[in-house]
Amino acid sequence: MSATYDKLVDLLVGRFAVERTEIGPDVTFRELEMDSLFLVELVLVIQSEFGVGLDEDAASPDDTVAQAAELIESRTAAAAS
């Protein structure tokens, strides 16, 4: 997986007390017991850690970790172009 994905995993472990072993690319945030309130927090953390702008509802509990990483990458690319 990408460096973005790896960094996202580190944030989930470090900031959201998710067990590293439970995380996988196809695992949804809901499966990680992260509800919509947690995702608002996650978007805040992503904005400051990756320096990208995201709407507060950019991620939903049914998104997978890989989908979130892809979203971050697309926003990073958009910001760079």
């Binding site: 959201f16 007390a17 919509s36 927090e41 507060e56």
Partner: protein, 407 residues
């Protein structure tokens, strides 16, 4: 028809003395104050407090606790778990619909509130946590206990400032008296040692300014007292009807025999100098307990160490009870845990009854001559306590008095 007798079957404490009811009991009996300088209050007009040492939210509460619980909720969860465990009841198997939760809290998640407000002012509204509201509203301590304990009966928080914990216990008793619940987990939780709150209390002139000597600052009933020392913590009790507790073979630690509540209707912060509201609450509590003033063996006083509270409380107690009852204030050791104080003191009153031991009032070196009471000081006193009263009085003139009797 008389109200059914209520049994206290579980106790839990988290205080500035540490985690666990026995830890606090030993410290208050030793009479060693917990007040100390607090680096988080550096630069403020008052920088001393009594804070809970060594609570690790991840270890002691749960791995996501720092994300979802303000500190007052963490303190409440730890104390409630101890209380329920010591009752011998099992939340996995109990009928949760018959279990109520009533917790006193005067402030709520002020630490979270202040941190998020700073963030909003400094970095803008887009940086404010979505968990701000669920972390700060006071009712969430009871809400989290419901989730924690699978308790789906009536669930609420009482706010009567520094009487909140005692008010909660009184309200909980009603749920057992009227048959709404079979078990109630009740007490108080508060974590108000925040820069803004401490400053607010300091601006009121309520806090001790003995900053160079923090351990001596909280000195209830002493002639040289000059205010309270702010504290934090949680006290929790498990209450059941005595008949039910006996039927399941539980140890009855003491009985909750009476509760009285009143309002001074006098002033926003000062107590009624005539003690009219206190007298009314004491009489109501004794009446419900079916005891007369001369039968009261012991009073766990509100005893905040403010000049006015202690003077009025002492005068009122003397008029009502004479000088026969032993009196103590544990705030000399623990400081004033605000909305949790009444519950912490209720737990300690139960232990006083159960263990026939009255903890001393720390720092009582020269008793105020206006305090014509038998205030225990210097060392714990062995005393058979059949009837004990625990007083709590809140700003706003809200009074709550509990009466415990030996089992």
């Amino acid at each position: 028809m008389p109200a059914p007798a209520l049994a206290v079957t579980g106790l839990g404490l988290v205080t500035a003395a540490g985690i666990g009811a026995d830890t606090t009991w030993e410290r208050v009996c030793a009479g060693v104050p917990t007040a100390a300088r607090n680096p988080d209050l550096d630069g403020l007009p008052v920088d001393i407090s009594c804070t809970v040492p060594g609570l690790d939210p991840v270890r002691d509460v749960g791995r996501r606790s720092p994300l979802t619980h303000d500190r007052f909720i963490q303190l409440g969860i730890v104390a409630a778990r101890e209380a329920v465990a010591s009752s011998g009841l099992d939340p996995v198997t109990w009928d949760g619909a018959r279990v109520g939760v009533v917790v006193g809290c005067g402030l709520g998640g002020v630490g979270t509130w202040e941190a998020q407000h700073r963030r909003m002012l400094g970095q803008g509204p887009d940086t404010v946590s979505a968990l701000l509201v669920p972390m700060l509203v006071p009712n969430m301590v009871a809400g989290h206990l419901a989730m924690e304990l699978r308790a789906t009966g009536p669930n609420f928080v009482t706010a009567t400032a520094c009487a909140s914990g005692a008010t909660a216990i009184g309200a909980a008793a009603r749920l057992l008296h009227d048959g709404t619940c079979d078990v109630v987990v009740t007490g108080g939780a508060e974590a108000g040692v925040s820069p803004l709150m401490v400053t607010g209390f300091a601006r009121m002139g309520a806090l001790s300014r003995r900053l160079d000597e923090p351990a001596a600052a909280s000195r209830p009933f002493d002639a040289d007292r000059d205010g309270f020392v702010i504290g934090e913590g949680s006290g929790m009790l498990v209450l059941e009807r005595e008949e039910d507790a006996r039927a399941r073979g539980a140890t009855v630690r003491a009985r909750l025999a009476g509760y009285g509540a009143s309002a001074d209707a006098h002033h926003i912060t000062a107590p009624d100098p005539e003690g009219g509201g206190v007298r009314q609450a004491v009489r109501a509590a004794l009446r419900q307990a079916a005891v007369v003033p001369a039968e009261v063996d012991h009073v766990n006083a509100h005893g905040t160490s403010t000049p006015l509270n202690d003077a009025v409380e002492a005068r009122t107690l003397r008029k009502l009870l004479g000088d026969r009852a032993s009196v103590t204030s544990v705030k000399g050791v623990l400081g004033h845990a605000l909305g949790a104080a009444g519950a912490i003191e209720a737990v300690l009153t139960v232990l006083t009854v159960e263990r026939s031991t009255v903890p001393p009032t720390a720092n009582l070196e020269r008793q105020d001559p206006g305090v014509e009471l038998d205030v225990v000081h210097g060392a714990p006193r062995r005393q058979r306590v059949r009837v004990a009263m625990s007083n709590s009085f809140g700003f706003g003139g809200q009074n709550a008095v509990l009466v415990f009797t030996s089992a």
